[in-house]
Symmetry: C5
């Protein structure tokens, strides 16, 4: 059933080249299997050490280039949103601690393919407790990471409440903008902001059927409204048509939510807003927090 192109794809997917490398470098899936079998023979400890070593080796040698992934076009992003179920609170402390370690190992084992950001939503939305923003060069790498994450004891206690898929692309309208606006857009965005906002967007048919020039005019108006906030709000855009029930995922980071409220109010006042069939629903407001802190909060 699978032919030339397909086979090459699957070969790449399972790191099959790698298995032939010296020092018995194995794919995470193969390793997981070894763990399972060995654990039945009571050799778990040894294997866990091995896994950790290999994982470390891989992280050291082959960690995916996060900065590149966050800048380049053609990168696939999956926003996976989760809420913790009841069963977690019935687990004892030790089981929770083991589950947390298992999660960290899954993050490490995929670190050569995917870059993952973690955000705490609990308290600011009823819809979720946290979400992962996963980037990679192939959507199936996002899937493989998330399948492993969901397969952990911690993952089994989660309800996956939402998932948004997108791809980064070269700028569409900016090249036609006037030079002064282009210059403004080079303002360096803020760094280290605590707040994150994700707004999925779907456009109406009128938007898509508009000539490119007309859309550029409206997008210039939209962009003009953002200039005031370039210093305090960092933005990133993903295209989702055909990958999800969305057209765009817009992602923001800021330390000043009052500015962000003003920015969005300004964007509601430009004509392009008439063509947002969906804006949010759900909008996700949260704070950027390290994986460890999120796991600690949810394990209390």
């Amino acid at each position: 059933m699978m032919q030339a192109a397909g086979q090459a794809f699957w070969l790449k997917r399972f790191n099959l080249e790698r298995i032939c490398e010296p020092v018995h470098m194995k794919s995470p899936i193969t390793l997981t299997r070894i763990v399972k079998e060995d654990s039945m023979r009571n050799r778990t400890v040894l294997v866990l050490v091995l896994v950790a070593l290999v994982a470390l080796a891989r992280v050291a040698g082959a960690e995916v280039d996060r900065e590149k992934l966050l800048k380049e076009p053609g990168v696939y992003a999956t926003f996976a949103v989760f809420k913790l179920g009841d069963q977690w609170s019935h687990m004892d402390k030790q089981a929770k601690a083991a589950a947390v370690e298992e999660v960290k190992r899954v993050f490490q084992m995929h670190a050569d393919k995917v870059s993952v950001d973690t955000h705490l939503v609990r308290g600011l939305s009823e819809k979720a407790d946290f979400f992962l923003r996963v980037h990679s060069k192939e959507m199936i790498d996002n899937q493989n990471f998330l399948v492993d994450f969901i397969g952990t004891s911690f993952g089994k206690a989660l309800k996956n409440t939402d998932t948004f898929n997108g791809i980064t692309k070269a700028l569409n309208y900016v090249p036609k903008f006037p030079e002064d606006l282009k210059a403004e857009l080079k303002t360096p965005p803020p760094q280290g902001s605590p707040y994150v906002v994700v707004v999925p967007i779907r456009k109406d048919a009128d938007w898509w059927l508009m000539p490119q020039d007309a859309r550029t005019t409206l997008m210039k108006e939209h962009t003009d409204a953002t200039v005031l906030y370039l210093k305090t709000v960092k933005r990133k855009l993903y295209h989702s048509s055909g990958l999800d029930d969305l057209d765009f995922i817009t992602y923001f980071e800021t330390a000043k939510l009052d500015d962000f409220n003003n920015l969005v109010t300004a964007l509601l006042q430009v004509r392009e807003n008439r063509h947002n069939k969906q804006f949010g629903e759900p909008l996700l407001l949260g704070t950027i927090r390290p994986l460890d802190e999120i796991l600690e909060i949810l394990s209390r």
Copy 2:
């Protein structure tokens, strides 16, 4: 209550002709009943062997012609979408392994009537873990297979989150297209692609009340937009009006999701898009994986 035509139908449905064949060839339903009764007399093992033998014999002798089903009009398709429930993770390893074997037997026992493709969705959509695409010459064969599948121990742990029913039909608009476009459409589609996308569609009343010629014009425009992607995206269409709360199920396979995103964006920009009352919702993005791999992933 049941008369001539109806009786013939039911006769065919239960393979009653077959029961009269030599070597005691029996229908799966009859066999299941035997299994039940025998198990009460502790003869399960013998029967299971019998079932396996018969199943094998049937597979060998009477497997449904998959290629024909995937090409011909008048074929019924059911997309059955599932998410694994909590109870599965509470089962022990042995019970899971037995449940997996039970699933495989159900697939084999219906292999003479239905052809089933398996797709992993977990990680790329919150809505499901996987879906089955079932094809046969009678909708009731899809139902009988799915009823048996849902009746397994594994099936009982599943939540059936969505089901789409459709029928394949002869091409509607293509015969009126210009010759060069018809020629383009003969481009062989890609094989062995890893990604699958399912987009259910519902048209508005204006679409259906448009004269056939006007619709052909719009569909030509739609088809022109797809030509660029014929080499990288494989397509299949099912008609659903009256069989589901949909008008069409569109099914795609590709190795290049960036191309697919461009294709869908192009399709949003043709006038026919104004008449899509529903486009996706849910769109399902997944990867084509063998049954064994899906069962292995979900049984971890």
Copy 3:
């Protein structure tokens, strides 16, 4: 609080006349109470025998005239749609068998008032496993039967996912149709068809505010589109305004789903379709199966 008319109603409802009949004929509700009390005195077996005898007697002597109910105006129908919950699969074989017998008794005990058809939906819709179509001369008889059905051990394991209520009425538009169309409509419908489709419908305000003549014109157009399918698709109409969040329940039986798909596509192409605020959602596709088979399938 209850006065003349109301009292007559309640008297009729509980079969109070009947209780005065010879041979101690009692209403089902009275019997149920006896069962309960007796069972506390360990005389269950005797009572069950009595119940069965009485039920049989009633079935023999007083079964509701199904043919009349299916033809006459002023008959109340309740479509009760169910999905089996998790707890059922945790019950042991014996408890399941007892529960199945309990269901059959409830059917028998109400057989003098309600006629019930049973349909399997599992496999063809994620929304339900099966549905009952209940007919009687008073809506409260439908309720009393369903309350008893839901009160069985089997019923307690069910989730009632949808319920549609309607009433049959004399034909509204047909009397004004031309004679040749009227003649066509006398085509005898198919019998013993395996497939069933239920499509609930809600019309928009424009439809209801249209003069009766204009609606007759549109309904003639609608009816013309159905002529081709009179031989292969059997139809039945229920009026629901005020009895449910619907205006109509349309019910179909057929052996040819390809014809049915063509019929619905034809109906989408007439002007009356513009006034369907709701068409399906949920549409239910299933197969007509005897109660025993449905119970057997769900008890596996």
Copy 4:
């Protein structure tokens, strides 16, 4: 934080005047607290007897005037809709019987403030098993009763699926109607009807922005359509704007559902229907049954 007007309100709410009455008359809430404390000192029995006595005394001496509540303007109504959860069926007979008694006591203890009607929905709607219609002179009395009801063992097994709040007001349009229509409207409504229908309604902005005269014209048209059914359908109207996500709750009682279906069909055919943004959704169809019967049915 609490000042003059507010304090008077709270004083009234807790019956504080009453506590000073002779024979130690106490508010239900105070009593509940005594029960709790005493039960810790193993004096529960004594207290329960006391509670019953006091409750009886209150019922005898101070039952709210139901007839007045059902006629006057300025009365607050809460429709509380419930569905029984799974846990109930796992309780044993004795626990159920105790829970039923507890419910009856809550009804009695609030009988001096609220009037409660009970309706069985099970079998005729998937949305609920029953609903309570609660009337009183202050919304907080409805809340206090329902909080106590939900706090019983029976209440804890319920899911509150819907709640509608409204207030009765003097007639708005009728004073401007012609005299003959006013006379017709004095037709005495039917009494003791078994069926109940509740239809929540929300009007569109056009309705509310229409001049009062134009609305009176449309409401006269609406009222004309109801004249034929005044003898067989009893009606009651509640205003909900600001108290719920509704504008009106319309409540009907009838013994003739065929007439009711005709009435609603007639109301769909007047121009005022264009302004119903929501009509039903959910419409609730049920039968009026005494509390005892509903508790008996749900406790089987």
Copy 5:
């Protein structure tokens, strides 16, 4: 990853300055950790005393200025709406009492950063049992409080059914209103009212694209309609664009729900109402009750 501005933010968030203060003043999070570790060494009692002392000290010395928070612009509000789950009713009395104390401690520990109002919704809405209105100068303080609240044993038994986020801002339209209306608006609002209503609102694109003058005209009309009710209804407005799937949260307190129903009816009759894409859905009606009373009611 974290730079200058961001670091300052995080420093402030964790009260790191404070840790250097004399008398070992620690942040709540640090304390919680100590509690955990110590409890493993069986020193819980001592630590709990310590926690209580520190909490008291903080409350005494550093309680947030509630009056200022309720008046000033730039204050962040989170409305967190909860419904109690089944598991709570399975807990014994002692465990419940301990859980209630834990909740009170969380309230005290955050009292220097957030001000929290508590409202009982049970009985008047099926959507929730109660909601918290949380105010602070930084949204993350709302989140940290709510994360700790949800992390208590009581919080784990809750389902967070809705959350609305907003920010207070200086008056937008009032400065352009005529002087007499401005004077009217100085009417002191009622104090100590028992009822609370929350109405989330979303405006349509036409509203936002209207020139500011046109919006001021419509808002004057809107405000005129409220003058009659300034004495009996207290109002407060929050801006939510970009912080939630809303544009505004409107909050009301009153002792007279009949007046409130008249007020909302009047607001439905001004032109600004045409631009409410969402008004309520859910509207929350409840009563203002102290935390203790709500915990007592839910712990019965």
